[in-house]
Amino acid sequence: MTALFAGLGYNLILLAETVRVISHLPRRWAAFIQQIETSAFGGFPVAMIVAIFSGMVLALQSGLALRNYRQEASIGGLVAATMCREMGPVMTGYILAGLIGSTMAAELGTMKVSEEIDALKVMSINPVSYLVLPRVVAMAIVGPLLTIYTDIVGIFGGGVVGKTVLNVDFSLYFRNAMNILDLKDIYSGLFKAVIFGITIALVGCSQGLRAENGAAGVGRATMQSVVTSFIAILIFDYLLTLFFYH
């Protein structure tokens, strides 16, 4: 329990310090762009596969159930709303936590155990400004961008199932999706994606910066960053859903 609160405290302090040095971002522009490239290009292929199959399964399961009530034509709205509100941001969050958050933890953890972080401090270079800030801001942007991509691909996947399995025309599917989909569905999902992105980057960086005891410690930090990010996404997802829809 002590370790849990210590970790939470460290993350909050890291967040506060990152916000304090936000004005340093222009100096970190090259690193920030590199992080955007790594996160986005790293996440796109996996996001496409996960999204298309998630949309297809969602359409199939819900469509088959709705068919009992001759309401299969409604799957467009159901898939679109579910993807935008929940599945898009959450799946994107899990993908980024597994791919990018773990990479951040491993990279910073390796730097920590090989004294590169200490070297930065001795050179009076703030490690939060130099390493954490570009990563957090990059993920705050990549999170929602990748979520938009995931939403679109997932909705499209649902449309393919609608046409091929449930005999729901694409035009009917997408018309239903547009009728049901609310602006709130979209912005609530994107807001979640921003929060998830920031959380994943902070958790990855904080685990890396606290790594100890060589390669074993880096491995532990990497694993812990994924686990902690997954749990944090679930908790924030619930709280934000409550906030937007209760």
Binding site: T110, M111, S114, E115, E116, D118, A119, L120, K121, V122, M123, S124, I125, Y130
Partner: protein, 271 residues
């Protein structure tokens, strides 16, 4: 100019520094020797505020480093260059980017001047045409020399060397030793060298201190250490297993090692 006053530091229940007192004067090359794991690197890290003592104080040029934070600590750190044991080069940056990092980050020079200083530093270190090479592609000796270049490029007043010759072949170790001497002669730098390489120690050091059981138990000049008949020094310098140094697990803390007031004994000359 660097002073440790009754410093205590433990990690968990393991005491590393216990009543540690030391004074290093400006302009000298001071070596701290001792057994592996005795607290030599911990001592260096206290000087730059990477570690804070549990008790006591560390003073650098009148500033109590042990209590400083933020901008005040950064001002003290800018007096230092630090050669870490493994070099600690940033692996994502090339040799040129590693060397130029402190200059660019603190706007100490424009790009033309940075390029000039990087080239000069590489010349001094006998590393030419390596600007675009990544640290992973360098040999151990080259990495150490590049790391030394990064430590000196801002012209610091004090350089800390953490095991500068460990892991190097005898020829490369001597290259590093010669660089340490040349830097002192050329730039009048104060150097603190932490090592258990006695050959290097006797070559570069003006004064030497032996760290044992968390405190300095002997200090003296290089010549005094080489000619001493003190049993601790004899055992450490010769590397024999028989002698007053004992396995830390079997050892009881005794007060016989320390003179009254906790200050280290000085070596008597054999002349």
């Amino acid at each position: 100019m660097i002073e440790f006053v009754d410093v205590y530091k433990s990690f968990g229940r393991h005491p590393v520094l216990a009543g540690f007192n030391l004074r290093i004067e400006r302009g000298e090359t001071f070596a701290i020797i001792g057994r592996s794991g005795c607290g030599k690197s911990v001592t260096l890290k206290h000087m730059v505020g990477l570690l804070k003592p549990d008790r006591g104080k560390v003073v650098v040029d009148g500033a109590e480093v042990s209590t400083l934070e933020g901008a005040a600590l950064e001002r003290v750190r800018r007096k230092f260059g630090f050669l870490f044991q493994g070099g600690a080069l940033l692996n994502s940056l090339s040799v040129e980017e590693n060397l130029g990092l402190p200059l660019r980050e603190h706007h100490l020079a424009d790009e033309a001047e940075v390029t000039k200083r990087v080239t000069e530093t590489l010349e001094l270190l006998e590393l030419r045409q390596l600007e675009k090479v990544m640290p992973a592609d360098l040999s151990g000796g080259m990495r150490k020399r590049v790391a030394l270049g990064r430590a000196i490029i801002t012209r610091p007043e004090i350089i800390l060397y953490d095991e500068p010759t460990t892991g190097l072949d005898p020829i490369m170790a001597n290259v590093i030793n010669d660089l340490i001497i040349r830097l002192k002669e050329r730039f009048k730098i104060t150097s603190v060298v932490v090592t258990h390489d006695m050959k290097s120690t006797f070559k570069v050091a003006d004064r030497i201190a032996l760290l044992y059981q968390g405190k300095i138990i002997r200090t003296g000049t290089s010549n005094e250490f080489q000619t001493s008949t003190d049993p601790y020094l004899l055992q450490f310098i010769k590397g024999t297993t028989e002698g007053p140094f004992q396995d830390e697990d079997e050892l009881k803390l005794k007060s016989t090692l320390s003179t009254p007031g906790g200050r280290a004994g000085t070596i008597k000359s054999n002349k």
